[in-house]
């Protein structure tokens, strides 16, 4: 039995010293001929808990390396661009792409998330990236006219495929369908009514509203009570 005379308590661990006051314990199982000068002899450990080894930091290191390499690459392109400047800051596009790439990798691999959340966040960040790219290239509205509607439809179709293929929790993807449909409508509304001259209504935008709307309607009609219940849960106040 190990006793700490200072704290007046018994220590049940396989310990040479008290975990509270770090004083040497009395009445331990040390043999008389053991080398007490050897610090190894003073090792103390729990006998009721595992010796927890630090979680592998390999992934952490790769992520840090990725960010570092991106910063170096971005900085290098800015310097080259500045030295050989011909009136166009092309390095901005490189930096934006690197930032987008880093975000995607970090977001996907840092912690595990629901597939639906991954899809939604990728969609929103992708839209922001394309708008930024469009502006970096002098803004000709290709992002809002073509690219964003295509992203919205692509997202919606992907989700429909997931629902059909048979994810056990398929009904929850109706939320992504609602989000893509609302985004499509907002694109049209901004273009038609606000007339900020940033968003022009294109055949692609109209197509996106029609396709996302039809897919949502199809889910609601054929999903029947399953979808009704899902919406009731999601929107309960």
């Amino acid at each position: 039995m190990n006793i700490c005379r200072r704290c007046k308590i018994t220590i049940n661990d396989d310990a040479m010293m008290c975990p509270l006051c770090h004083g040497i314990l009395e009445d331990t199982d040390i043999e008389a001929d053991e080398e007490l000068d050897d610090p190894e002899t003073y090792d103390s450990r729990s006998i009721t808990y595992p010796d927890v080894t630090p979680v592998s930091r390999t992934l952490h290191f790769i992520m840090k390396l990725l960010i570092f390499a991106s910063v170096v690459a971005g900085f290098t392109t800015v310097v080259i661009n500045a030295v050989l400047f011909n009136g166009f800051w092309w390095s901005l596009i490189v930096c934006m792409s690197l930032a987008y790439g880093c975000f995607v990798v970090l977001y996907v691999f840092r912690t595990r998330k629901s597939l639906q959340k991954l899809i939604q966040v990728q969609m929103v960040v992708g839209i922001l990236f394309l708008i930024a790219l469009d502006f970096a290239l002098g803004y000709s509205a290709w992002s809002v006219k073509y690219a964003i509607p295509i992203i919205l439809v692509a997202t919606d179709v992907s989700v429909a495929v997931i629902m059909l293929v048979g994810d056990d929790n398929w009904q929850s993807y109706v939320m992504t369908e609602i989000v893509t449909f609302l985004f499509s409508v907002v694109m049209i509304v901004l273009g038609v009514f606000v007339k900020v001259n940033i968003l022009d209504v294109s055949i692609f935008s109209i197509g996106a509203v029609v396709i996302t709307g039809l897919l949502l309607a199809t889910t609601i009609v054929f999903g029947d009570r399953i979808i009704q219940n899902e919406l009731r849960r999601r929107f309960h106040i």
Binding site: C7, D13, P19, L20, S44, K113, W170, G223
Partner: protein, 427 residues
């Protein structure tokens, strides 16, 4: 889309307290607690897996995943199979990422002769978790000791309730006013361990000893322990000097006995033992008197009712309910950050664990461990079984001065204490 099996997915709202936890939980502040049972024999993982899989379907509170609605989080039935039960290999009370855990919000692990149940606090409180742990343990024991089936039914215990009512809502009084003001408490600071590292020290105490000592002071065991903890902070951290901020020990109170509830969901409130440190060299007896008076004033049915009625009234307010979740989350985080400054530490007593006689010969003890929260990097949990009371300190601090002063105080009072740790304090 004709999967009829998911047509009527069972779902339910989070209880009043649970609403906060998904908003504030993160790596390093997991809001996960652990309850464990130590058997007198090593655990067979296969039989433990069978036991969990047999018991889990009865417990809707645990067989759930959390989803995010536009206005509130909610639980729905989790149809995924429960993950493989593994040997304990991390520090206790680590953050539970549901997507690493087949969307379950609790985990079961084992180590040697101990079964651990770690639960996210949004599911239930310690009382609910202990009910589930006991059923897993009984089922496990019936599996490995078939002779037990001749003495007891091979099903859930007759004393177990599966009720999942929100007892806050069933028992609140309308129109309650805010019963407390948030006042800044002393916040203990010190060198911290690595993120997610947790120091655990179990103090094993003879119930007869502590009962005798508490009686000699004329107080209950709980009052005595709260005072000893406060005393340890005053003596070890404040060095018996006055402080402008009081030492406030949060004491969760199980509301079930007060409101005749058997719910498996959260049903507790937190009262505070407040000690205004006005002068130096105060005696233990003085501190005991102050903290006991503070607790006695608050632990009355009327006061406890007031404590949760205000929060439930807010939850019931239609205007507040209609606020989208992301705005509510910001507001809740702000309120939490403010109120987190109101407590120095927490001491929770899960009481005496009742176990049918048939199983008692197989069970050594029960343990409980709390995770850290904002401003509180040292907490204590008390749980009793048979003739033994186990007081567990969990801490994110490297130092153990407060724990040392606490246990020395108990020893000075003539209480026999032996301790077990998870080894962190030897590093």
């Amino acid at each position: 889309m004709s999967k009829k099996k998911s047509k009527d997915i069972k779902w339910n709202r989070l209880d009043n307290t649970a609403n906060l936890f998904p908003v504030i939980a993160r790596e390093g502040m997991s809001n996960v607690y652990r309850v464990s049972v130590v058997l007198k024999e090593d655990i067979d993982p296969e039989e433990l897996t069978k036991a969990v899989n047999k018991v889990l379907p009865f417990f809707d509170v645990f067989k759930a995943r959390m989803k995010k609605g536009l206005f509130w989080y909610y639980f729905e039935k989790n149809s995924n199979p429960f993950p493989e039960i593994r040997e304990e290999s991390t520090y206790p009370c680590m953050y539970i990422n549901p997507y690493d855990n087949r969307e379950y919000l609790f985990r079961v692990t084992y180590y040697k002769n101990r079964i651990n149940l770690e639960a996210f606090h949004a599911l239930t409180d310690g009382n609910g978790a202990l009910t589930f742990l006991r059923e897993i343990t009984y089922q496990y024991l019936r599996n490995v000791h078939p002779e037990l089936k001749e003495k007891v039914r091979d099903s859930l215990a007759a004393t177990t309730s599966l009720d999942i009512e929100d007892s806050y809502v069933s028992n609140y009084k309308k129109g309650a006013k805010r019963p407390y003001k948030t006042k800044k408490a002393l916040i203990i600071k010190g060198e911290k361990l690595l993120i997610n590292q947790l120091s655990v020290i179990h103090g094993l105490i003879d119930i007869g000893d502590i009962k005798r000592v508490a009686k000699s002071y004329g107080v209950t065991i709980n009052h005595y322990l709260v005072a000893a903890f406060t005393w340890a902070i005053y003596k070890s951290y404040l060095k018996e000097q006055p402080s402008k901020d009081p030492i406030v020990t949060a004491v969760p109170v199980n509301l079930r006995p007060y409101f005749d509830s058997d719910t498996l969901k959260n049903f507790f409130v937190v009262v505070s033992a407040v000690f205004d440190v006005e002068r130096e060299n105060m005696t233990f007896e003085e501190i005991l008197e102050i903290t006991t008076k503070s607790l006695k004033e608050q632990i009355t049915k009327e006061h406890l009712e007031k404590l949760f009625s205000y929060n439930v009234s807010n939850e019931k307010n239609l205007i507040l309910r209609s606020v989208p979740l992301f705005i509510k989350s910001i507001a809740m985080r702000m309120v939490y950050n403010e109120s987190a400054r109101a407590n120095t530490t927490t001491l929770t007593n899960l009481g005496v664990i009742p176990v049918p006689d048939e199983y008692r010969e197989y069970i050594e003890r029960f343990l409980a461990v709390l995770s850290m929260s904002k401003g509180q990097s040292l907490k204590a949990t008390v749980i009793s079984y048979g003739d033994e009371l186990v007081l567990t300190f969990s801490s994110a601090f490297r130092g153990t001065g407060i724990q040392r002063t606490f246990f020395r105080k108990l020893s000075e009072d003539g209480i026999k204490v032996s301790i077990e740790t998870n080894g962190v304090n030897y590093e």
